[in-house]
């Protein structure tokens, strides 16, 4: 397995519409070529690395990586990319879906690849470990290991001059980040512990998470909406997060910061 990074980029650069194709791989992250100018673009950074547009950057388009269960519930009128029968054999089989859905650590340095960076004992992270990268509108990024997010959600942080909230959904896989400043006031969030009766004996109950801010005791849902309390109706500004392997993010962000347990 190579890159496991989903990203969405706007396709217009300097008023020109570009359409992209797969051309190759640079250090385990793929390179796209646009059909209009032949420029090569690095998928994970959106940066043009070779060709007439070299040095330009694609503009990120906000997206989220969440489970279908959550997305289809929140977007009942939405549409979804169809599955084409001629590629059915090529789409991820059940086993691979299971692998990526359950465990954060999905790969080792195996025969398919070598890691472009060395493990660093100081950061305490496995190279093949999944992280969520927070990307601020100004382009600054910080990495949060999924393992830590699951242990500590909701995570409160401060980065790039912003007060950040990162939450793992009740499915334990969907992750969202927000700016936790509302009307000029920084809010401290904690998660309500809700005990639920299992629907059946072998099924773990899934109850939508409820966050509470310590300042007003208003209740917030996973979409960043205040559902009750004095702030009811308020919305937290969503911030971009995306998944990546630690080695891949580190290779393309050599100076990048990583969130460590207990650093707030």
């Amino acid at each position: 397995m190579l890159c496991r990074t989903g990203l969405v980029w706007k396709s217009i650069v300097d008023n020109q519409l570009l359409t992209f194709r797969l051309i190759g791989v640079n250090n385990q992250n793929f390179i796209m070529e646009d059909e209009q100018t032949g420029t090569w673009w690095q998928q994970v950074t959106g940066k043009a690395i070779q060709g007439p547009l070299a040095g330009k950057r694609l503009e990120p388009m906000f997206f989220e990586q969440v489970t279908w269960e959550l997305w289809s519930r929140e977007n009942p009128d939405g549409t979804v990319l169809e599955s084409r029968p001629e590629f059915a054999e090529m789409y991820w089989p059940e086993t691979e879906r299971e692998e990526t859905r359950t465990e954060g650590v999905a790969i080792d340095g195996d025969e398919y690849m070598d890691f472009p960076v060395e493990a660093d004992p100081d950061d305490g992270l496995e190279l093949g470990e999944l992280i969520f990268a927070l990307r601020l509108p100004d382009g600054r990024e910080k990495a949060y290991p999924l393992r830590l997010l699951r242990e500590q959600s909701p995570v409160l942080d401060r980065f790039g001059g912003r007060d950040i909230l990162i939450v793992v959904g009740e499915d334990n896989r969907s992750v969202r980040a927000f700016d936790r400043v509302v009307d000029g006031r920084t809010l401290e969030f904690y998660q309500l512990l809700i005990e639920a009766e299992p629907a059946t004996e072998d099924e773990t109950p899934r109850v939508p998470i409820v966050l509470v801010d310590a300042e007003t005791k208003s209740e917030w849902d996973f979409s960043g909406l205040a559902t009750s309390g004095v702030l009811a109706g308020a919305r937290l500004e969503p911030l971009q997060v995306y998944t990546d392997y630690w080695f891949d993010w580190k290779a393309f962000h050599p100076e990048g910061l990583v969130f460590a347990a207990g650093t707030i």
Partner: protein, 171 residues
């Protein structure tokens, strides 16, 4: 005696030239693709070399093909051409043509075929996505679209539009 020594290599010159063309065409196909393959880590130089070679490859390989066909016809028209030699000639020309054909396309897309057209279906009617599957979701002007990872994990790139705005979903 002296003159014969010169004539023998001259006779083989077209065949040697043809061999060089075949080797160079195959090299021009393989090297740029190998440089950006997942089998190793890339340096900035690898990327530049691969980009430059893959820009020149289609033209060079086409020139090789044209010269190769002329050489093959020259050899073919020789009186003493044996059947075995003619089979070798056909193989050489086919190799040159194949190289010319391959450089016109995208080698990586041989492994990961792009979607011929992007079609989305209503989320409420979709049965091909499992509740636990991860999707990439985008929204624009009240419209929402989802791209399941099990599907885009194969195609890698989906060029699409939402509310008129063009974007590319990558995985």
């Amino acid at each position: 005696m002296k003159s014969i020594r010169i004539i023998v290599p001259m006779k083989h010159l077209p065949a040697i030239a043809l061999l060089i063309l075949v080797v160079s065409s195959i090299t021009l196909v393989v090297i740029p693709a190998y440089l950006v393959s997942p089998m190793h880590s890339q340096t900035a130089y690898d990327l530049e070399l691969s980009y430059t070679l893959s820009n020149w490859a289609p033209t060079l390989v086409l020139i090789n093909l044209v010269i190769g066909v002329i050489l093959a016809l020259m050899i073919w028209s020789k009186q003493d051409a044996k059947l075995r030699n003619r089979v070798v000639l056909v193989i050489a020309v086919v190799a040159l043509a194949l190289a010319a054909h391959v450089t016109r396309g995208y080698l990586a897309e041989g492994m990961f075929t792009p979607l011929p057209e992007v079609v989305r279906v209503a989320a409420s009617e979709a049965t091909h996505v499992l509740p636990e599957d991860l999707v990439l979701g985008v929204k624009r002007a009240g419209e929402a679209a989802a791209y399941p990872l099990p599907i885009i994990g194969y195609h890698h790139i989906v060029n699409d539009r939402l509310a008129g705005e063009p974007f590319v979903v990558t995985y």
